[in-house]
């Protein structure tokens, strides 16, 4: 019989009854396992001693009062389409759009560095919903502390140099997709969005719309958004990608896009993630269905909601080499795609493809 595993022997240190019958018989007869176990017990004892700490004298009631009275400050959560919009140089926008759309309604999805999202979940949206979200841009001022610098380059090596990311390699292109690749890459960028009550009021007055009042504390609140780095590979005829303005309806997918981006992180001051979520979900024009879907996403710290435009696409969950992804199959013949998170990166494969082809490419990315 093979010697007992490291984990089994270590557990034995904490629980002398942890061994099953055959393991116990082996252990009793095996001097090597006993010696290893003794070494582990010594290390465990040393660690426990080293990590001893002074005694705590807690006043739980007082601590609770202190926590209750804490002002809002610095929660973290994920973001979001409107803030990325200034980065949309035409070429980059084509590829980035697929990534950006995936992040569009995650302003409320707190992404603590400790709990970066590990999976994705579809949330049905209408384009009216997305347009309603765009109104957020009227609520403040966007400045970039680190400007987004998307660059178009000719080689994957150059894209890697710029972004620091390994560029995904498509194992086998589907028939009919050009092998001509254009790369775009962007280092990480940091934007600061400052909520401005006066600007919001002016914007509302100018359009004659009634916009929801900014919650207390939101005026002057700052969101610091870190996006990217990102790399995008665009296969095929770039001329087909024209018309990528601010409306998502104009996006004309090239033959194939493969994008990879670090999961975004946002920190904020003065306003909590809950306040922001409630505020965004109260925006006029946002459908009750979307609000309900967003609230049903579950634990937002580990789930990245993927907005699925219901007029144009249907979604289904797929497994991409063990990671759960969302496959978008469009109903108009425009294209399909799949988005998933692997470790700390968001991946997108999209294009004028059958959904099965997009999923196949995704599963075979190197």
């Amino acid at each position: 019989m093979a010697h007992l595993s490291e984990g089994t022997l270590r557990r034995l240190v904490d629980d002398p009854d942890a061994l099953t019958g055959s393991d116990r018989r082996h252990y009793m007869d095996c001097a090597a396992c006993q010696a290893r176990n003794q070494g582990m017990a010594d290390d465990a004892h040393a660690a426990a001693t080293l990590l001893s700490a002074p005694e705590l004298q807690l006043d739980v009631a007082n601590a609770f009062k202190h926590v209750q009275s804490a002002p809002a400050a610095k929660p973290r959560f994920g973001f979001s389409l409107p803030i990325l919009r200034p980065a949309t140089q035409q070429m980059f926008a084509v590829g980035a759009a697929a990534v950006v759309v995936a992040l569009a309604i995650t302003a409320f999805a707190n992404i603590l560095p400790l709990f970066q999202p590990k999976t994705v979940q579809p949330v049905p949206v209408t384009f009216a919903d997305l347009q309603a979200l765009e109104q957020l841009s009227a609520y403040g001022t966007l400045t970039w502390s680190t400007q987004p610098k998307p660059q178009i380059v000719l080689t994957a090596a150059d894209a890697k140099t710029i972004s620091g990311l390994d560029v995904p390699v498509v194992s086998k292109l589907p028939a009919g997709v050009s092998s001509t690749v254009t790369y775009a890459a962007m280092p990480g960028a940091v934007a600061v969005f400052t909520f401005d009550a006066k600007k919001a009021a002016d914007a509302a007055a100018a359009t004659g719309k009634s916009l929801p009042k900014l919650p207390s504390g939101m005026d002057g609140a700052k969101l610091t958004v870190t996006v990217g780095p990102a790399v995008v590979e665009v296969f095929g005829d770039m001329n087909a990608a024209s018309g990528t303005g601010s409306s998502s309806q104009n996006i004309n997918l090239p033959q194939l896009i493969v994008a990879k981006s670090a999961v975004p992180v946002v920190t904020s001051t003065q306003v909590t993630a809950k306040q922001l979520e409630d505020y965004i979900l109260s925006m006029p024009g946002l459908s009750p269905e979307l609000a309900a879907a967003v609230r049903s996403v579950g634990d937002p710290s580990t789930t990245l909601p993927i907005p699925v435009p219901v007029e144009y696409a249907t979604s289904s969950k797929v497994s991409i080499n063990g990671d759960t992804g969302v496959a978008l199959g469009d109903n108009t013949g425009l294209g399909s795609g799949v988005i998933w998170i692997h470790k700390t990166n968001v991946f997108v494969v999209a294009g004028s493809l059958k959904q099965s082809a997009a999923v196949d490419i995704a599963r075979n990315l190197k």
Binding site: A44, A53, L58, A63, A70, F115
Partner: protein, 167 residues
């Protein structure tokens, strides 16, 4: 059905001591540990429902990482202390002797903070009295992996402490 505030108060009362204990295990500083524990609860309350099933695991993990981040934040100071450590400091790990010198407690924490986040968290959570299952939930792995992770983390800590005392 409990209100949001009532649920949070119940969670606070049931978990505060353990969360503060985890932070204290990392920081070896009761006052700072309480600061960390309260910071963790404030963050949790802003972001999540207290009735969420993952609440205790979230709090435990956040306490460990937040406290470890505080130690890492002291990095420069710790590095200076390490370089100023008396040359006669022991080159081998003698736990009892380590604790005889007050500054060595800080050195141990600096060594802990140099470990990768997961092993450091496993060590701290287990040393704080969490069961294998609770540690597994907090760091998001299967219970069966904890023995191996713990063993490797303890060996890594011994190595780091030895390295620290050899500088």
């Amino acid at each position: 059905m409990k209100s949001r505030d009532e649920a949070f108060e119940a969670l606070f009362k049931s978990e505060y001591a353990r969360v503060a204990g985890i932070a204290n295990r990392v920081l070896a500083d009761p006052q700072e540990a309480e600061d960390v524990a309260q910071e963790v609860f404030i963050s949790f309350h802003r972001l999540h429902s207290a009735s969420a099933q993952f609440a205790p695991a979230w709090l435990h993990r956040a306490a460990a990482h937040t406290a470890l981040n505080r130690v890492r934040g002291r990095k420069r100071r710790e590095r200076r202390e390490l370089t100023q450590a008396p040359e006669e400091a022991s080159r081998t790990v003698d736990p009892q002797r380590m604790l005889e010198v007050g500054e060595d407690r800080r050195m141990v924490r600096a060594a802990l903070a140099r470990l990768a986040p997961k092993p450091a968290a496993v060590l701290v959570l287990r040393a704080s009295g969490l069961s294998y299952a609770e540690v597994a939930q907090a760091i998001g792995v299967g219970t069966g992996q904890i023995g191996t992770l713990l063993r490797r983390a303890e060996a890594a800590l011994r190595k780091e402490v030895t390295r620290g005392t050899s500088i």
